[in-house]
């Protein structure tokens, strides 16, 4: 890692930030497709909002900003949020979107209440805790990057090993149920991947905007390729680029990291949707134009 940092044409702290955010972006971008392609994009939104009370509680318990503890708290609450959503869906009469809305409300309201509590506690360490809402790449040190590499690498390894299973589960849940793999294990696996993506990515982008780092790289990659085996690395690279470049830009302009990264990655996704060679909006519009009359003309013409 040190050689990689030395290679970047940046001062050491900035190089660490760029490196760290790129790693986090890659992990989020590469793990998210297994959830996003199953229609679970907003599921990730509720989970990332759900990390807020976890982080604040961890801080209240430990009394200082210990990165490991905050990560553990975030992960615990992301899992709790996922469990609540799945539980509400299964209990009946609550559709997935309403379950997401309720979970998001529950966790975020709790997070706000806890955050104001910390705000009144007068603990000097608490300043900067609400930067957690919008990302705080700037303070990253080498140890954070190592944690990200370790956790992310572990998750990516799991993806490589179980790739075929994850692929069939992502595109055809019925099939894998028939093939003898219980659906709940697939649910659990894709949720676990999402937890890792969320918990790591929240550091750069913040709890509120995390969903963009999950969805936008995947959408961009989806416009470029149909094959999951190429989609996953492309999505990871787009996430890595947005994370790294965005964090450095935000640091130089003294802006919160999250919004800069989000605008960058959404811009990339929009560009991919518009200009992708085969599946892009423009190339399809061109083909359709040459092929047939527009719907509207024919409908009003009769």
């Amino acid at each position: 890692m040190n050689t990689a940092i030395a290679l970047l044409p940046l001062p050491y702290p900035e190089a660490i930030v760029a490196m760290g955010s790129a790693v986090l972006g890659f992990v989020a971008g590469a793990l998210a497709p297994f959830a996003v392609l199953r229609g679970r994009a907003m599921f990730g939104d509720a989970m990332s909002h759900g990390t807020l009370p976890g982080v604040v509680l961890a801080f209240l318990v430990v009394g200082m900003k210990d990165q490991g503890m905050l990560l553990a708290g975030a992960a615990l609450f992301a899992i709790a949020a996922a469990a609540l959503m799945i539980g509400l869906e299964r209990a009946g009469r609550t559709a997935p979107d309403a379950a997401i809305g309720v979970t998001l409300s529950a966790t975020f309201a709790l997070g706000i209440v806890l955050l104001t509590r910390v705000g009144h506690s007068g603990n000097p360490e608490q300043s900067g805790l609400d930067a957690y809402l919008f990302g705080q790449a700037a303070g990253m040190v080498a140890r954070d990057v190592w944690i990200a590499l370790l956790l992310g690498g572990f998750a990516l390894l799991a993806v490589v090993v179980f790739f075929r299973l994850l692929r069939s589960a992502t595109f055809d849940p019925q099939f894998s149920a028939v093939a003898g793999v219980p659906t709940w294990t697939i649910d659990a696996a894709s949720t676990a991947l999402l937890v890792i993506a969320v918990v790591l990515g929240v550091r750069t982008v913040g709890a509120i905007l995390m969903v963009a780092l999950l969805v936008a790289p995947c959408v961009a990659a989806r416009a470029l390729t149909k094959r999951l085996a190429t989609l996953v690395p492309i999505s990871g690279l787009i996430g890595a680029f947005s994370g790294g470049a965005g964090a450095v830009l935000a640091g130089r302009a003294e802006l919160p990291t999250g919004p800069v990264v989000v605008l960058l990655v959404t811009g990339l996704a929009t560009a991919a949707l518009l200009f992708a060679p085969r599946r892009g909006v423009l190339s399809r519009a061109w083909r359709r134009r040459t092929a047939r009359l527009s719907h509207a003309e024919a409908w009003h013409g009769n």
């Binding site: 009469r93 559709a95 399809r284 359709r288 009359l293 024919a298 409908w299 009769n302």
Partner: protein
Amino acid sequence: MNIRQSSSTFSQRGPERTEGHIRGVECPEGGLHDTPALRWDGVEVSYGGKPALYDVSFEIPTGTLSAIVGPNGAGKSTAVKAALGLVPLNRGSVRVLGGQLREHRSRVAYVPQQDLVTKDFPITAIQVVEMGRYPHRGWFRRLTKADDAAVAEAVRRTGITDLVNEPLDELSGGQRQRVFLARALAQRADLLVLDEPFTAVDARTEAALTDLLAELCADGEHTVIAVHHDLRTVAERFDHAALLSGTVVAAGPVHEVLTAAALEQAYGLVLAAREKPREDPSTREYPARDQSERVTSAP
């Protein structure tokens, strides 16, 4: 169920249905009902650039119990949706009751596929039936005694008197379908269009509801069109049929449509592939709604 067998069961049809059928055949033009209830002219529909129906031209005579049949993905539902303005036409035109749909909206009753109705909607059976009077009363006017009478009659004819105050989502598939049919009856429409009305319905209810539909058409004024997947029921009970497979394979009196040759053309390889599973009762109900017909489908 076997297709060849079903086309031969044609002769078992009851006398009263034969009457209806004869009327449909003997005076297809001229007489009171020279305007067809529904008429497609060169209709083409596509979803997301892919054609779902092309060059569709046929008509459903007034006063018939008619079925639209065909294999999965044949565009059966698309054809009726195109007729009712629910999907845009690329080409062609549709005439409803001899005119434009917007001139006759209150005369057309529609029972959509069950999975397009909002699940878990908090509504009681009687409220669904009363909805059938909305087209006559507009947005504001209160329901009158005449509306109440129409609702009561529809409830009685469909046999749901005991269910009127039950929440809809606690009814069985058959009971639900009765409620939706009651809504269509309460509308007192001249043309009833049903999209896959019998998918989640037990055989007994299906027979009872088909009786009711046949009874409705018997006066020669009402027309019923059902998108249907069960060829045997169609052969036994319906007057008129259109066999679709991307376009019209055959249309006309049911015994002229459900011939071995036409069915082979429409079902093609589908039949051969399905020969064995067909015996399995669990596949008796076709998974009829194919992806390309769903509005929510994604490529």
